[in-house]
Amino acid sequence: MKGVLLKDLYIAKSNILVTVVSLVVLGFGLSFLLETSALLVLAPVAATTSVFISITSDAGSKWNKNVITMPVSRSQIIGEKFAFYIILAVLGIAAALIPCGILALFSFDITIGSLCLYGSIGLSTTLLAGSISLPCAYQFDAEKSQIVFMMSFMASTGIITALVLLTNLFIPVKDNILLAFHIILVIALITFFLSYRISVKVYQKSDIT
């Protein structure tokens, strides 16, 4: 799996670099307009676009047909894409934390609480979107996958809104906002794991030509 991950890093390298630099620059730029920690909502979403660059490249070169003949199992192929997605999401968060950390040193209003809240929202949105778009990337062609990828973020925002409303039935969200979004993050993590398991099962039976 290490080799396949390395291949994806090579493919997405320039895109990852541009995203990380943009997030850092955007972080400083945003500080004059709104709370810099809000960048944590956008950062993992922006960073994970590189996964779809690698998926498009795989489809273009028919890499998936080739890699199955190598000592890499189908579950490892799927597992690598999901792992790559998580790595990029975490990298996005890390990139966004750079301006937040620096600005915090200069007494900008950045608290641990706001970082946790926006980080949870960003990661939840990204994981839920990935739960939808990653399995579809192995079922549809590259063009349809990109459409699904874009729509998955809208869908994940809708799901989060629904989860907030649902949580509000049991816990008043306004008073426990951090707890509510941590619950949503846990749900998103479970969904992402289930999506991975389902993708592996479906891919095991798929014909790759």
């Binding site: 080799g3 490249s57 028919k62 047909k65 080739n66 000592p71 890499v72 790759i208």
Partner: protein
């Protein structure tokens, strides 16, 4: 003799095509050529053997193992039509990727092959010609101590010089008796040069699986007119085809037939002609 690949009763059904109980073997130390027209089932056979598509029935044994696990895949080199490697990568980057995929990856062999084929290490694959891409794919297939090479239309679309380079490399590979090759190709002249056995697939079925020498030495074509055709013993005819001004009849046992029909003009049949007569001809 042990077989590197044994395919038995391989079946796969599509809406408009059936791969019907395909069976043949690739003996150790040999080159087996898989021939057939477009859509005959060559790629389906290879894809099903490699686990790319789910087979409905039949068994595939590769290097003595019925299960295609990672350990077995370490010993198989596969080359498809097209390079199937991300075009943004260079051969040097692919080296680092493959080093982390194959436990048996041999960097020295890979670099030597790149040098032999005059492939630049740091140029992106997208800047390579088709011939260069195929050479790269073959270099990768040969750089992890493969015992079985499977090539699916790997030489199609290449110029004769590049094809000749690749054929030489394949012949060199089977000098080791533990090495074997299954190669599917439209270019039967290539297979005539290198193959030990020919497997002919037509409409999803194996028509024959024979040693190449038997085909080229035993099979012949009688070219004659209608009266001569009528005079032939019909049990001697494998396939026949009526052309504009003559009949072409595929027979086997050329010498025997020449004695039986001393006036007939019997010419040796090429693999191309045998395939054409089976595909376009009629059975008596």
């Amino acid at each position: 003799m042990n077989n590197a690949l044994t395919i038995s009763g391989l079946t796969k059904t599509y809406k408009d095509f059936v791969l019907d109980k395909v069976s043949f073997t690739v003996p150790n130390g040999s080159i087996v050529g898989l021939i057939g027209e477009n859509g005959a089932g060559k790629s389906t056979t290879i894809n099903a053997s490699l686990g790319l598509i789910q087979k409905e029935a039949g068994t595939v044994s590769i290097l003595g193992r019925k299960e295609l696990d990672n350990e077995t895949k370490e010993q198989i080199g596969v080359v498809f039509d097209g390079s199937n490697y991300p075009e943004i990568l260079s051969p040097a980057k692919l080296n680092r990727v493959m080093r982390n995929i194959y436990h048996t990856w041999d960097e020295q062999t890979y670099m030597r092959l790149l040098k032999n084929f005059s492939l630049p290490q740091d140029k992106q694959i997208k800047q390579f010609s088709k011939g260069m891409k195929m050479k790269l794919a073959i270099s990768i297939a040969l750089s992890h101590h493969s015992k079985l090479l499977i090539l699916d239309e790997a030489t199609s679309g290449l110029d004769p010089v590049v094809r000749d380079d690749i054929l030489d490399m394949l012949l060199d590979f089977v000098q080791d008796e533990e090495h074997s090759i299954l190669v599917s190709s439209h270019i039967t002249s290539d297979l005539e040069k290198i193959a030990d056995y020919i497997v002919f697939i037509h409409k999803g079925q194996v028509v024959f699986s024979k040693p190449k020498d038997e085909l080229t030495e035993q099979y012949g074509i009688i070219k004659c007119g209608a009266s001569q055709f009528d005079a032939l013993d019909k049990s001697d005819i494998i396939m026949y085809r009526k052309m504009d001004y003559e009949w072409q009849i595929l027979i086997s046992g050329r010498d025997k037939m020449q004695k039986k029909y001393p006036k007939a003009m019997i010419i040796p049949a090429t693999i191309d002609e045998i395939m054409l007569l089976y595909v376009k001809g009629e059975k008596q």
